[in-house]
Symmetry: C2
Subunit: 243 residues, 2 copies
């Protein structure tokens, strides 16, 4: 794990790192030492580890809860080189949608493919980040919607360190089998007028989760229009389960 | 409006009253004077104005938010005389369910009938309670699930003083038409394994609400098993919209 830069503002320390070929970022409370809860965040499709939606949430997790937060670029995203295989499939999928195929199953297949790479990558990120003195081996949470849900469901299912997860904007097509192995508390976000994930498919993914405590929050609006008050809820959810 | 008793405990003043033939209860912060938000609560079927589920929520609305809260007995419930017509219909419905008819449409029809009585009753309760010096004409909220949703949807639709409502455990069969006239913010509770309200019918009622801000919270469990953390969310919801 190699740190390449460090900045600090408004009480939040930000460290950029690379772990092997994976570029990542770690946010912690400025000046903090000792073990604390850690949240791994998965970004959306076409986005990256410092996407505004990731950054805004990460800063609040750190500043208001004292958590550590880490995010890394998914293959083919952010500071990572274009991935030949993923790129070819994305191009093919665009052509198939243009030819009239349904979007949701194509997204689902693509996310399942990418997850085979990201699940082991994210594990090594957890291993490395939890070695740091200012993070330590505390309870782990996962936050990810859209692509971050498609990749997050198999990760949360397979990673016993994760004790609570916020997921959403994803459907059962890609993830129902892995969802049925998730037993930790989940807060699950659905956009009622999602133009990318059919409503029934989102509800079916919530339904597939084996968690005894799972809570579905659905709000009007399109895929990208999660209302601001849901972040308040997310903070309380993680505080309840990791704090 | 005639007050028959007054007690006070843990900072919450409780006044029992009758308004015409309607027995009611009013909770306010002990020693409080002046205008404050008012929440009208509708109890469940077979329950009453001081049902434990009503009482626990009302005390928190008063103690933590400084609100006034009022609840009255629905006709045929609590301290009100048995209602011949409602009693006859309830008995008939039991027989029809025993003979194999679906429960949900029968509940829906019954609630629509009762609502024709409770909507005007609840209006007069608001009128009277808002005349009191320690309540005043502040913003009004409505809370009601199950029967309290079936009766609450037409009330919220028709009563312009209501600025925000928590509803749930109800279905579209009874209330879709009235729901389409509701435009205030709604937090809507669904129990994912509700044995009385079919899941699709509950989701359809949420869908029917015309509110620009509406948020669906669904949790595993049966009709009566709303998890405790939803009350925390309800407090924040009312604080956001009435506070």
């Amino acid at each position: 794990m190699r740190f390449s830069s460090e900045t600090s503002s408004d009480g939040v320390r930000e460290q950029l790192f690379t772990l092997g070929e994976i570029p990542g970022v770690l946010w912690t409370p400025a000046g903090a030492a000792g073990t604390r809860p850690l949240i791994l965040m998965g970004h959306g499709g076409g986005r990256h580890k410092k996407d505004p939606g990731i950054l805004a949430r990460a800063r609040r997790f750190v500043a208001e809860c004292g958590f550590a937060v880490t995010a890394v670029d998914v293959p083919g995203h952010g500071d990572r080189p274009m991935d030949e295989e993923f790129n070819r499939i994305a191009t093919e999928n665009q052509a198939r949608v243009a030819a009239g195929e349904e979007l949701a199953p194509l997204i689902a297949g693509f996310q399942a493919l990418v997850a085979r790479r990201t699940v082991p990558e994210w594990r090594t990120v957890l291993d490395a980040v939890q070695e740091l003195d200012h993070v330590g081996a505390g309870p782990v949470g996962y936050w990810g919607v859209s692509l971050g849900c498609g990749l997050g469901v198999p990760f949360v299912a397979d990673e016993p360190r994760v004790r609570a997860a916020v997921l959403g904007l994803g459907g059962a097509l890609a993830s129902a089998e892995a969802a049925a192995r998730i037993t930790v508390p989940v807060e699950f976000l659905v956009q009622w007028d999602d133009e990318r994930v059919p409503r029934a498919d989102g509800l079916a993914l919530f339904d597939a989760l084996a968690s005894a405590e799972k809570t579905l929050h659905a709000n009007p609006g399109k895929h990208g229009e999660i209302p601001g008050f849901e972040l308040d809820s997310t903070l309380r959810f993680f505080t309840r389960h990791l704090g």
